[in-house]
């Protein structure tokens, strides 16, 4: 196994460990687990199953984890996107009719915020399907756990360095 593979495995295990602390209560943790299982074939799936463990087989829990996200994403996301496009078209038509000057600055700011929100959605796992409020909440949670993860991993790295040094 190359170093890169090892790194990937470590990152995957760290991510899954981080997500499993939330016990499936948050969107992002479910999304992390779902992505991990579905991104890289069966190899990852087994790994995730093993990592998640669980008394009577990790599979059940895993399927519970993924079932929601997968089903909801595959079917409804297309519909949502269609509806969203339509409504946006309607909205833009009405907005253009209003006072031009005020709408201009306002729309610029709004567009900026929307763009940033899109970026944030792409960053937070599972953020694509969130509305604004849940996105902010999930971001809060995600940042908190990312910080914890970074801290743990840094501790591990320092101890490893110490052990290596001696």
């Amino acid at each position: 196994m190359t170093n890169l593979d090892r790194k990937k495995a470590i990152k995957l295990s760290a991510d899954i460990a981080m997500a499993s602390t939330r016990n499936g209560t948050t969107f992002w943790s479910r999304a992390v687990i779902a992505n991990a299982t579905h991104s890289n074939g069966d190899n990852n799936r087994i790994f995730v199953e093993r990592t998640l463990g669980g008394g009577d087989g990790g599979g059940g829990r895993l399927s519970e984890h993924c079932g929601r996200t997968k089903a909801s994403r595959s079917l409804s996301s297309v519909m949502h996107k269609k509806i969203l496009k339509k409504s946006r078209r309607v909205c833009s038509r009405t907005v253009l009719g209003r006072k031009h000057n005020l709408a201009k600055t306002h729309s610029i700011a709004k567009r900026l915020v929307r763009k940033k929100t899109q970026v944030l959605k792409s960053l937070v796992p599972g953020g694509e399907s969130m509305d604004e409020l849940s996105l902010v909440v999930e971001t809060l949670d995600y940042i908190a756990s990312l910080r914890a993860q970074v801290e743990v991993m840094r501790c591990l790295a320092t101890t490893a360095e110490l052990l290596n040094g001696t």
Binding site: K11, A14, V136, V137, I143, L146, R154, N164
Partner: protein
């Protein structure tokens, strides 16, 4: 406490007696409090038009003299009976009685002028006393001077606490006596505004009946406004000043105002505490909308539910109040100038500014009662249908969470605007993710032994979690698979001989520990294999601890793959 304070104030300089005719007032107030010389009290009251007239100068005069005395008086509360005995010979007996009744609380002198205007209605009496305490608190703030210090502030609270208590114990000993002598005066003081409003409720209803009598109108006016305590001392004190200055002109307005108010609280008498907050605010709102239209916007901000946006709105409201107060204080000063001497006007201005300070201080102070419902009110010009209300609630929630995010993300405090904040958040999340990447890279490259141990632990966990029944056969096969890898072959018999769990095979320390005892102890199992074991194996074992990590790693990977295969099968 203020009893002997006042007595001290009164007796050493006899000037005070003639000057402001305060002491007779005090005496008479005492007597009225005991219901002995009620007639004299009434006479005094009528002579001086309003108790507040001499009330203010008294405070100012004395406090200039007795700033130091005041604190000491607080401490020497118990000693007050003796002083009162020696000083006022007439009513020493009565006073002693009174003080004996009241116990440690000796500050009856303060309440007395207000009890002059007592009309026999106990409810009103209660409310008045509460208001009187508010008055004193308002006026004593500058006089006790430094509000920043620790000592004076508790004193205030003490006074606030004890004054209403006194009033209650005088008027009706039973009803609110539980409030007395409580050490938790700070909380009580914080809640005091609520009490004020409540007493105010009682008072206004009484006022409606009393308006016709109108001999003591100014004093009445002063109280209800001051009853609001922290909320509206400015508005309250300004009417009192005006009452000083031009009573007749202001009477009509004030009466209308008070009647307005009396309608409000009457309807909400039975409201609970949680509803009392909006109640008070609506009161103030009424006043504001009458007095100054410009400030209505700031007040409307105050109306917003505290759980949603607590800090900025309250401070804003306080600021608006302050502004309007500074505006208001000027005309009042003018009034005082017109009627009375310039000194008095200055004093009044001082008092008003002090009340301003007080208000701004106590503005954010009263704790919001816990609300279990979301209380949304539309500002002027905002839509009130349910959809937009819900939308507003959602936005408030988002902004609240954004604030939390702002606290969480470093460097986000300085940024204003949602787009920039989102930018910061995005950067932070990206940096965290990159950090994770980097750390995992580092962990993978720096040392393989540690995470190797980690993974063994992990696999052990899985082993334990799965309770091993399907997994057990895997691990012997694992060890057999390890046998493929080179020099691990020698280790296997040892492990099997020691009857060690095959898992421990992977962790060098444990395997060492398990292998050494048979070596050192020459146990029955260890002996036959010892010659076969040899020095080479020991070397390899020792090496494994430090140098042979890559092979270990590959071995582990092999075991992992084997187990994977097993699971897949």
């Amino acid at each position: 406490m203020e009893n002997d304070f006042f007595l001290n104030a009164g007796i050493p300089p006899p000037l005070h007696l003639e000057q402001a005719s305060s002491i007779p007032a005090w005496r008479s107030s005492f007597s009225t409090a005991m219901d002995i010389q009620a007639a004299a009290a009434d006479r005094n009251c009528s002579l001086e038009q309003s108790p507040d007239c001499f009330y203010n100068p008294n405070w100012d005069n004395k406090s200039t003299d007795q700033n130091i005395h005041f604190e000491s008086a607080l401490s020497s509360m118990v000693s007050s009976p003796a002083a009162s005995n020696s000083n006022i010979s007439n009513e020493s007996f009565v006073i002693r009685e009174l003080i004996g009744k009241l116990g440690s609380i000796g500050n009856s002198g303060d309440l007395a002028p207000h009890s002059q205007s007592l009309l026999g209605i106990q409810n009103s009496y209660m409310g008045r006393n509460g208001n009187a305490s508010a008055n004193t608190s308002c006026y004593s703030t500058p006089l006790n001077s430094p509000p920043k210090l620790n000592l004076p502030v508790p004193d205030h609270h003490l006074k606030k606490e004890k004054l209403p208590n006194l009033g209650n114990s005088m008027a009706l000993n039973s009803s609110l006596a539980e409030f007395s002598a409580d050490p938790g005066f700070a909380e009580r003081a914080a809640k005091f505004s609520c009490f004020g409003s409540r007493s105010f409720n009682g008072r206004t209803s009484q006022l409606g009946t009393n308006n016709n009598n109108s001999t003591e109108q100014p004093s009445f006016r002063f109280h209800p406004a001051a009853g609001n305590g922290g909320k509206l001392p400015r508005v309250s004190s300004s009417p009192s000043i005006k009452a000083l200055g031009s009573q007749t002109s202001m009477q009509e307005k004030m009466r209308a105002l008070l009647q307005d108010r009396s309608e409000l609280p009457n309807s909400r008498e039975e409201s609970t505490i949680s509803e009392q907050n909006p109640n008070r605010e609506t009161n103030s709102m009424d006043l504001n909308s009458r007095k100054r239209k410009s400030a209505s916007k700031g007040k409307a901000k105050d109306h917003h539910p505290p759980p949603i946006s607590p800090s900025p709105t309250s401070t804003k409201g306080a600021e608006v109040n302050e502004n309007s107060n500074t505006k208001r204080s000027k005309p009042s000063e003018n009034n005082g100038n017109d009627q009375n001497g310039s000194v008095k006007a200055e004093e009044d201005a001082k008092g008003s500014t002090s009340s301003d300070e007080k208000q701004t201080k106590t503005g954010p102070k009263p704790p919001e009662p816990p609300k279990d419902y979301i209380h949304v009110r539309a500002r002027r010009g905002q839509a009130t249908d349910s959809h937009s209300l819900a939308e507003r609630v959602r936005r408030e929630k988002i902004s609240e969470r954004m604030k939390l995010l702002q606290d969480l993300v470093p460097g986000c405090n300085k940024v204003t605007g949602k787009a920039l904040m989102l930018d910061e958040i995005i950067n932070y999340v990206q940096s965290l993710q990159r950090q994770v990447e980097f750390l995992s890279m580092k962990l993978s490259s720096v040392n393989t032994r540690l995470d190797f141990n980690m993974e063994t632990l992990m696999s052990k966990e899985i082993f334990q979690q799965n309770h091993g029944l399907p997994q057990h056969p895997i691990f012997p096969s694992d060890s057999s698979a390890q046998a493929i890898y080179g020099h691990q072959r020698q280790q296997n018999p040892v492990l099997s001989n020691g009857a060690v769990d095959p898992l421990d095979n992977t962790s060098p320390c444990q395997s060492l520990g398990m292998q050494l005892p048979p070596l050192s102890g020459f146990s029955s199992e260890g002996i036959p294999h010892f010659p076969a074991f040899g020095e080479d194996d020991l070397h390899t074992i020792v090496q494994m601890g430090f140098g042979q990590n890559p092979t270990r790693e590959s071995e582990l990977l092999g075991s992992n793959q084997v187990s994977h295969m097993k699971i897949e099968l």
